[in-house]
Symmetry: C2
């Protein structure tokens, strides 16, 4: 190829010296003669290797060590407790003991409440606060996370499982299915971790989580109206309209205001305690202890006044004792196994998303890094073993982790302390909970919900990214008005639609030279950028020039260039000699994209304009070369826009503001 001979360099301050021009030509050759990029197969293998073995060399470096070291390091990889327990001290234990007791006092009433939300007997919540925290303490890498049942999962499980198994009509079969779903969730979580598919958790975007959790919080709150108002007949649906309809009907028929008065009084007490705890750092234990205190007080009141005879609904029998085995209850055959596995998958992802979000935010405060894949393996094993010991899906709880952190926990020993406390309670105190009013459990759950609705963050999202906000709102309304799964689905759908839209939107931007440099930038972003006379420099505003946008982009460029040229007939404003396409933003091009570029080139040539391509990336120049497009445009490919302009318009270019 040869750029048209530059006309005599007339503008004195910009004469490109010959040596620099030689450099241009050489550099253009560098662009054209780049080594072949890795083949798609090679890229696939590399990508899999990067995902599976992010620290490949570490494994290799072990090769020369004795087998016992292998075993030790393998065990230490699986059970981080073997590493950190060596440096465990009495001081740390004092802190962990305090934190553990604090979260235990919060955990016992919450666990009972969440089990009710999950439509299970109350003891299942307590069981779930025993085995999973112990397993996680041995295998987990977070130091603050508090493991146990959580609100969102306790809502999600019944709302999906009751579609094929009614929890009221046949509670035994329902419980079996919940345990089976827990088993599947554990299997999926462990598998994701072992296969290093940690990125799957990222498919729920931050905005979607904010909206989803807020919607779920309101839905959970609405479910608590049953306990708070002492309603007998309640809808099994979770959307706001069905629930309010159900509440409205019940209020007109039969409900007992005593439940409401008792619940509301203690809710006010818990919220006041939280307010005080926030005000004075010293009183941090007050909000943590308030729920347990409420349970004790209200139980006493009911016991002493015999209020249960006057319409106050109580928990009644809670089965005590250590977690019974539930291996024989898992339903790995039967009609619903596929459905339950699906439930397990969704719950596994939601639980992981919550746990990893919680773990990461506290790890980042303390300045250490959380390995997502290792966390997944730990969560997976804790749920698998949990499903063998009458636990339902456990994960890291937002509220209890925060309490654990502010109570000054040092290691996962606080989880062990909590689990032991719950075991003791299960052995000794379950009989005492017989008279606990259900309205109190409802108010304990209600009191935990405001923390899940993050209006501040929603406002931030609105401020920064309107599209993200749309995702957030869609998830929120989806959960609120339709169902939990639809909310999730809509949020994921919108998130990916946004990616598609941004990747293929057919935008272009005009570039101008930044004064004092050889850079060409968007003239809208940099109003000081100067257009080059005689040349139009265009950059595609998407990452791909492909079937979905190539035609429309090329059509717009043509319309625009010809309009500019036609305008000049009257005004003689500018005669376009050169169109430079800056392909620096294009990650890839496909056969449709190349065909469109060929059409563009043909059309421009027909209008007497020259066409050049600047700064193509590896994949792009490789494909253009394979398609013989480079030779078709006379090798007009350059390293930078500046070089393309220099080569074509030569000394004639008039830069403004040197």
């Amino acid at each position: 190829m040869a750029a048209p001979a530059p006309e005599a360099a007339s503008s004195p301050e910009e004469i490109p010296d010959l040596e620099e021009n030689a450099g241009h030509a050489e550099r253009a050759q560098w662009v054209l003669n780049a080594p072949e990029p890795p083949s798609p197969l090679r890229e696939l293998i590399d990508s899999v290797r990067d995902t599976v073995l992010p620290c490949g060399n570490k494994f290799l470096s072990l090769k020369n060590q004795p087998a016992s070291d292998h075993v030790v390091s393998f065990l230490q990889g699986f059970f981080p407790i073997l590493v950190w327990c060596r440096s465990y001290t009495a001081t740390k234990f004092k802190n962990d003991l305090l934190a553990g007791l604090t979260i235990a006092s919060l955990c016992i009433p919450q666990s009972i409440g969440y089990a009710t939300l999950a439509k299970l007997d109350p003891q299942y919540g307590l069981y779930t606060s025993v085995v999973p925290p112990l397993i996680y303490a041995a295998m987990g890498t977070s130091r603050e996370i508090a493991i146990g049942p959580v609100a969102v999962v306790s809502l999600l499980l019944p709302s999906m499982i009751q579609q094929f198994q009614d929890p009221v009509a046949d509670p035994v079969s329902y419980t079996k299915l919940v345990l089976t779903a827990t088993f599947f969730a554990g299997i999926f979580q462990a598998a994701f971790g072992i296969l290093r598919l940690g990125f799957l958790v990222d498919f729920l975007s931050h905005a979607a989580i904010v909206g989803f959790v807020a919607g779920a919080a309101i839905v959970i709150g609405l479910q608590q109206l049953k306990g708070l108002l002492g309603i007998n007949h309640f809808t099994s649906k979770t959307d706001i309209i069905s629930v309010l309809e159900s509440v409205w009907k019940s209020i007109h028929h039969h409900w007992d205001p005593h439940n409401f008065i008792l619940g509301f009084a203690f809710l006010s007490f818990i919220l006041t305690a939280r307010f005080l705890g926030k005000k004075k750092q010293r009183l941090f234990w007050l909000p943590a202890i308030a729920p347990l205190l409420s349970v004790i007080l209200s139980t006493l009141i009911v016991f002493l006044t015999k209020a249960d005879k006057h319409g106050i609904k109580i928990v009644k029998h809670i089965k005590g004792g250590f977690n019974p085995s539930s291996v024989h209850q898992l339903q790995l055959t039967g009609p619903f196994v596929g459905e339950v596995a699906k439930v397990g998958l969704i719950v596994a992802l939601v639980a992981l998303t919550e746990a990893i979000a919680v773990g990461r935010s506290f790890a980042s405060i303390k300045g250490y890094h959380l390995d997502g894949n290792k966390e997944m393996v730990a969560m997976g094993f804790m749920n698998i073993i949990g499903s063998f010991t009458s636990c339902y899906v456990a994960t890291g709880s937002f509220s209890r982790t925060a309490v654990n952190f502010s109570a000054g926990c040092e290691t996962l020993v606080s989880n062990i302390v909590m689990a032991i406390t719950v075991i003791i309670s299960l052995q000794l105190f379950t009989r005492l909970l017989y008279f606990t009013p259900i309205a109190i459990l409802a108010s304990i759950i209600l009191s935990a919900l405001p923390g899940l609705i993050d209006l501040n963050e929603a406002y931030n999202i609105w401020k920064i990214d309107k599209f993200d906000f749309l995702t957030c709102i869609a998830a929120f309304f989806g959960v609120l008005f339709v169902s939990v799964e639809i909310g999730l689905l809509v949020a994921v759908g919108i998130s990916f639609a946004k990616i598609l839209l941004i990747s293929i939107r057919p935008g272009t931007e005009t570039l101008g030279r930044i004064p004092g440099t050889d850079m060409f930038c968007d003239i809208n972003q940099y109003p000081m950028a100067a257009k080059t006379p005689g040349a139009v420099i265009i950059r595609v505003k998407s990452a791909l020039l492909c079937f979905a946008n190539a035609n429309i982009i090329v059509e717009r460029i043509m319309t625009w260039v010809t309009e500019e040229a036609e305008d000049t007939k009257g005004n003689a404003k500018r005669t376009i000699q050169l169109v430079v396409l800056d392909t620096s933003s294009l990650m890839d091009i496909d056969t449709s994209g190349i065909a469109s570029l060929q059409e563009l080139h043909k059309n421009l040539t027909a209008h007497g304009m020259e066409f050049a391509i600047a700064s193509p990336r590896w994949q792009v120049i490789h494909k253009l070369r394979l398609a013989n497009f480079v030779s078709k445009i006379g090798g007009n490919v350059f390293l930078t826009v500046g070089e393309a302009v220099d080569a074509s318009i030569g000394g004639k270019r008039a830069t403004i503001q040197a």
Copy 2:
């Protein structure tokens, strides 16, 4: 912000003079103080306006003209024939007449064959070659396209409609539904054109079309086995396995070899004619006339030998006369209207894709531009009016357009000539076609199929883009082994999955300085690029830093940077002071992406490294500013990587090969 004070400039050849440094600082301010990008709402409005009114100013410029001019230009816009008929000459007519007669001779047998493929009575094919070409001649902008029934659409219609209406059991209802689908297809096409949704056609990528058409060609060929072998009982499915099974069974039971011998003989004749036509340019009319010749000859043979009494299947009665009205046959109410509308939509898109692909390729040869939206309106009206006059979906035919072009057509008058010829045939000759053997129609269709299987193009796609080839193959096998719609669906799905994958794959590349410039490029693409001592310069290899890839990208950068830093403890190879993230390829960032960047910054700071961002695009810098991220990283944002490196490492940088 202040970059850390550059250490004493020690390397003499690279002392940045003060003025240049001032320039850097000023330019960094340009990055930070860019005007606000258009709001999402503004962008949406602009995008809609660009789509709806691509030449907005043209409309405005009419304002000062009298109303009659408005009407004239409006009519001319709708009926381009009003423009080009003024300069029509006798010479042009001579060429068009010849071309029109040539395509008519090809069109008559093809139309009858395609109508049979569409499971309609033969006359519907002829009707479809009358009204649509006339309408298109008045409204279309292509000059070469030959309008009429085509193979792929004739296959698609029955394969979808027979799912709810059996064409054999109740041919009358089936025909009504086909006409209704044609009406809907026309409505959709016209609506796409009027709403300027031309880009919808692009959603079938080039590779998908190549695979789809090739698969459809084989499926159509298999359907012809029924006619060629004279089989009575044939499967209504279109996949290769069902068809071959059906053929296998029939051959074992009852079939008449006479049909096959006759069909095969004439197929050989047509193919030989085509071969001769390709060899000698003079004989271009031979392949065009061969099908009609075959029909006449074979009809005569059957008539004279009374072969129809000996097992040769014949067309029998074809209803003659001009297109009857079919307005009363449209089923706009009733049980299937939703289904039929769906069929109409799919057929509308496939027909448009074919027509616009054909039109564009010939327009590009002759060097004029085809307005996709105008084409859609023309196609829409021709199918709407077609559905009122007993026509099924018509579009531009690959094979006849090529014949029209090589016969030297000048304008759409050739289509008018063709339509008139077909009208005359309908009036006079349909009775003569009574004895035409069905095997001949099958061989005419078969002879047109090889042109649809473009192995060359498939090889090209394989060479250029392996992923595109996967789309192509998936469409091919989907059509061949499952069904026509599944093939389409799979192809579209894979195409969009590819876009997603490329947009969010979590790749990064290391940049180095290109010798003799201030450019930083991928060191794999440009092996001569030199790494900057003390700095790691990383560019994200995807268009978005978003929820789906931000975490994994940031984790990889951290692992990699810390590994590099740890390595140096032993080797003292390089101490990293600065990590520059080149964001030039990022089209957008979302809240998750910003959160990940914040984590990266925190981690890097903890390791004693500085973090800088170079060349952010408009949306990206705007969002980073809104999220207060810019102030968090101390304003370390630069116009170029070079300036980021200069500002931080200052005079210390050691460029290789100045």
